[in-house]
Amino acid sequence: MSELSVVSEQAAVPFYRDVKKLAVIAQVVFLAVVIAAILVLINNVSVGLKKQDLSFGFGFVTQTAGFQVAEGTAFGLPYDSSNDNIIKVILVGLYNTLRIAIIGMVLATLLGVLVGIARLSSNWLLNRVALVYVEILRNTPLLVQLVVWYFIVILQLPAISNAQPVAGVYLSNSGLAMPWMVQKPDAINFFPFTILAVVIGLSVFTFFSIQRGKSGKPIPAGQFGLGAWVLTLLLSFFALGQPLEYGAPIRGNFGVNGGLTISPEFTALLVGLVVYTSSFIAEITRAGIQSVHKGQWEASRALGLGYSETLQLIILPQALRVMIPPLGNQYLNLTKNSSLAVAIGYSDVLNVLNTTGNQSGQNLQTMVIAGGIYLVLSLTIATIVNTYNRATKLKTR
C-alpha cells in the first residue's frame, strides 16, 4: 500500500488515517477473529464429544485392528488381523494407495501422451476418435466411470473356470492373472541389489553425460546407463542363485495359482483412474505440443529428421517444460482420486481408515488421520514436481 501521509505533519496524523498502523491493526483484528472462531469451534467440539461420551485421543491406534484386509502387505511385512495393531493396518492401506497411485501415474502418462499426439494427428479419423475419447471421459464423473468399470465391465466377465486365456493371461471376474516372476523364499536378499543396480546405472549415466559434455563426442550415455543397470541386475540375480522364477497362472479348483494375480477391485480402480486421468493428460500434451513454435518443426524437417524423430528429439523435450506444472497437478489429482476406492471396495488407506473408524467408533480421529496422510502425500508430490520443474526450466542468463 502506498504511503499517502504528508511528511511534514507526521505527528498530526491520527492512527485511523495512518496506513502503516491501520495495516497492523487490521491484521491483529483478523488474527484475533480467526483465533476466537477456532477456540469457539474447538469448545463446541469438546462439549459435543463430552455429550456423546467420546474422547478425542489417538491412543486407540495401538489397539488390535481385528479385521481382514483383502489385499496388500505393510510394505512387505505380512499383516495378521488378530495380532497386529491399527498402525499396521493403516500401513497396509497406505501401501495399497501408493501402489495404485504410482502405477496409475506411469500408465496414465503413457496413454495420455499417446492420445494427445493422436489429437494432433493429420489423420482425420484418428484425431476425431481421440477427440471423442477425451470429451466423453472429461465430461462424465470419475465415480460413475469407476462404478461402470467395476460392476459392469470387470464383474460381468466370465468366471475364472470359463475364462479363455490369451497368451497366458486370464481376465475373469476374479481379476487379472498373468505370468510373472515369482519370488522364492530368499527373494528379500535380492531387494538391496535392485537399489544398487539403480544407483550404478545412474552413476554410469551421469559419468558419461559429463564426459559427453566435456569431450563433445556423441557418447550414448543413456544406453551405457541402461546397460549398467541391466548388467548389475543380471549379475546379482545369478549370483544369488535366481531368487525369482518364472511362474504362469494355473487354473485350479478355487481360482488360479502361480504367476501374478490382480484383484478385480485393483484392476477396475487402476483402469478407471488411468483412463480418466489420461484424458486430461492428453489435453495437456496437446497444449504443450502446440505451444512449441511452428518454426521448430520446419527447421527440424529441413535438417532431415523424420516425423517421429522430430517429435521425440525436438518437440516433446520443449513441450515438456510447459507440461510439467499441469502434469504435476494431474498426478496430485490421481493420488487424491484414488480415494474413490471406497466406492468399489478396494482396500486403500481411506477405506481401511473408514473401516477402522466404524469398528472402533473413532470415526472423527480416523478421518483426521486420513486427511493428514493425503496432505503429506500431496505435499510430497508437489515438492518433487516443483524440484523437477526448477531443474528442467529454461535457464535464462
Binding site: 502506498s2 487490521a26 467440539v45 461402470v148 459392469i152 474413490l340 472423527l364
Partner: protein, 391 residues
C-alpha cells in the same frame, strides 16, 4: 501440402481427394486409418446391437420421476415444476438476448424434439408428459422473445432474483408442509448441490485469493494455510469430515446430511477457486493499480472496480473448468449415502423389479452428466468470445 496447381487435373471426386489427403496420405496413415476404423466399427456396432436388442430401456421411463427428483414428495412436486418452468423461460430469454440476430443452431431443434418426444410418449398420464414438453417450449419461446425484447443486462438481475426465489420456493412451508432437504434426490439433488456449491464458493474463493495475495503477512499466511490444507485433501475425506464435524462444530445444531455436504463442497471448491483467481489477480499489470490510485480511487475501489473485473475475465475458462469439476464431483456424495444421480441409480438397480439394469441406468446418467458439462463448457466459450475486448 499439395501443390494443386502444378498437378494435372485430378479425376478423383472431391471426397476421394479429401480421403486421400486426410486418411491415406502415406502407408502409416493408411494402416492407422484401417485400425482405428475397425475399432470404431466394433465399438459402435456392439453398442448399437446392445442398445437396440438387449437393453431393457423401460427402466428409465418407469423410474423417470425418481431419477429426476428422488424421494421428493409427490404432492410437493409443484415446487420443482414451478422452478423448472421459470428457469427455462429465463434461460431462453438470456440466451436469446445474448445471441441477437443469430440463428438458432439446428441441433437445438433436434435436442428439444428428442426430449419432448421422449417424455410425451413414455410419460403419458404423468405430469412429466405435459410439463417437460412445456419446459422445452418455454426455452424456445424465451429465446425468440429475448432476441427482440430483453436487454441481457436485465437478465443478470433476474437471475439473482430467481436464485433467492427458488431457495424460498424449496424451503418455505406454504401451508401444505415443508420439504426436507433429505427428501431431495436424483438430478434435483445433483443440481442443488452444484448450484449452491458454485454460488457459495465463488465469493469465498475470491476472498481467499485476495487474502492470499494481500500485503498483510498474517492474513496472507492464514489464507495460504487454509487453501493448501483443503487442496491437499481428497473431496471424499472432506465429505466424511463434514458429515462428522459440522454438527459438532456448530455446537450440536442438527443440520441434515445434504446441508453438510453443501458445506463440504463449498469449502473444497473455494480453495481451488482461490488458486485460479489468484492467477488472475497476478496477471493484472501493476500499472493498472497505480493508474487507479493516481485517478483517486481508494484501495477497495481499485480492487473491486479495476483489478477484480480484469482478473476474473482472464481466468474465466479456468473458473468454468472448476465449476464443471464441481458439478461432476457432486457424484461423490453417493459415498456418504446421499441419493443424487449416481446414488439413486444404485438404489434403482438393487430394486428386485429392475435387477440387471445397471448398464441402462449408468449409460443414461452419463449422458445427463455429459450434456450439462458440455453445455457449461460451450457456454463458457461463447461468453469468453463476448467478453473478449481485444477483437
Amino acid at each position: 501440402m499439395q501443390a494443386t496447381n502444378s498437378n494435372p487435373p485430378s479425376r478423383d471426386s472431391k471426397w476421394q481427394l479429401w480421403a486421400k489427403e486426410n486418411l491415406f496420405s502415406n502407408t502409416i496413415n493408411s494402416i492407422l486409418t484401417i485400425l482405428t476404423g475397425v475399432l470404431v466399427i466394433w465399438v459402435v456396432s456392439s453398442l448399437g446391437i446392445w442398445a437396440l436388442t438387449q437393453a431393457k430401456w423401460n427402466v428409465i421411463p418407469a423410474n423417470f420421476r425418481i431419477l429426476m427428483t428422488g424421494s421428493f414428495p409427490t404432492e410437493q412436486l409443484w415446487r420443482t415444476w414451478t422452478a423448472l418452468i421459470v428457469v427455462c423461460v429465463a434461460s431462453g430469454l438470456h440466451w436469446g438476448s445474448l445471441s441477437r440476430g443469430a440463428k438458432l443452431p439446428i441441433w437445438t431443434y433436434f435436442f428439444g424434439a428428442a426430449i419432448t418426444l421422449f417424455t410425451a410418449i413414455t410419460q403419458v398420464g404423468h405430469p412429466s408428459g405435459i410439463l417437460v414438453p412445456a419446459a422445452v417450449l418455454a426455452v424456445f419461446a424465451g429465446y425468440f422473445i429475448g432476441q427482440t425484447a430483453i436487454p441481457s443486462r436485465i437478465m443478470n438481475i433476474a437471475w439473482v432474483v430467481i436464485f433467492f426465489a427458488t431457495v424460498l420456493l424449496f424451503t418455505m412451508d406454504f401451508g401444505t408442509g415443508a420439504v426436507q432437504t433429505k427428501e431431495w434426490g436424483g438430478l434435483l439433488l445433483t443440481l442443488m448441490l452444484s448450484i449452491v456449491g458454485i454460488v457459495a464458493s465463488f465469493p469465498l474463493g475470491v476472498a481467499l485469493a485476495i487474502g492470499r495475495t494481500s500485503n498483510y503477512p498474517i492474513i496472507s499466511a492464514i489464507c495460504t494455510v487454509f487453501i493448501e490444507v483443503v487442496r491437499g485433501t481428497p473431496l471424499v475425506v472432506v465429505f466424511f469430515i463434514a458429515q462428522l464435524f459440522v454438527p459438532l462444530l456448530l455446537g450440536g445444531v442438527n443440520i441434515d446430511p445434504v446441508a453438510r455436504a453443501m458445506v463440504g463442497i463449498t469449502i473444497f471448491s473455494a480453495a481451488y477457486l482461490a488458486e485460479n483467481v489468484r492467477g488472475g489477480l497476478q496477471s493484472v499489470p501493476q500499472g493498472q493499480i497505480e493508474a487507479a490510485r493516481a485517478v483517486g480511487l481508494n484501495g477497495t475501489q481499485t480492487l473491486l472496480l479495476i483489478v477484480l473485473p480484469q482478473a476474473l475475465k482472464a481466468v474465466l475458462p479456468a473458473l468454468v473448468g472448476q465449476f464443471i469439476g464441481l458439478f461432476k464431483d457432486t457424484s461423490l456424495v453417493y459415498i456418504i449415502g446421499l441419493k443424487e444421480l449416481a446414488g439413486i441409480s444404485d438404489s434403482i438397480r438393487s430394486n428386485p423389479d429392475f435387477i440387471g439394469t445397471a448398464k441402462e441406468l449408468y449409460f443414461t446418467i452419463s449422458i445427463i452428466y455429459f450434456i450439462f458439462s458440455y453445455a457449461m463448457s460451450s457456454g463458457a466459450r461463447s461468453l469468453e468470445k463476448q467478453l473478449n475486448t481485444n477483437r
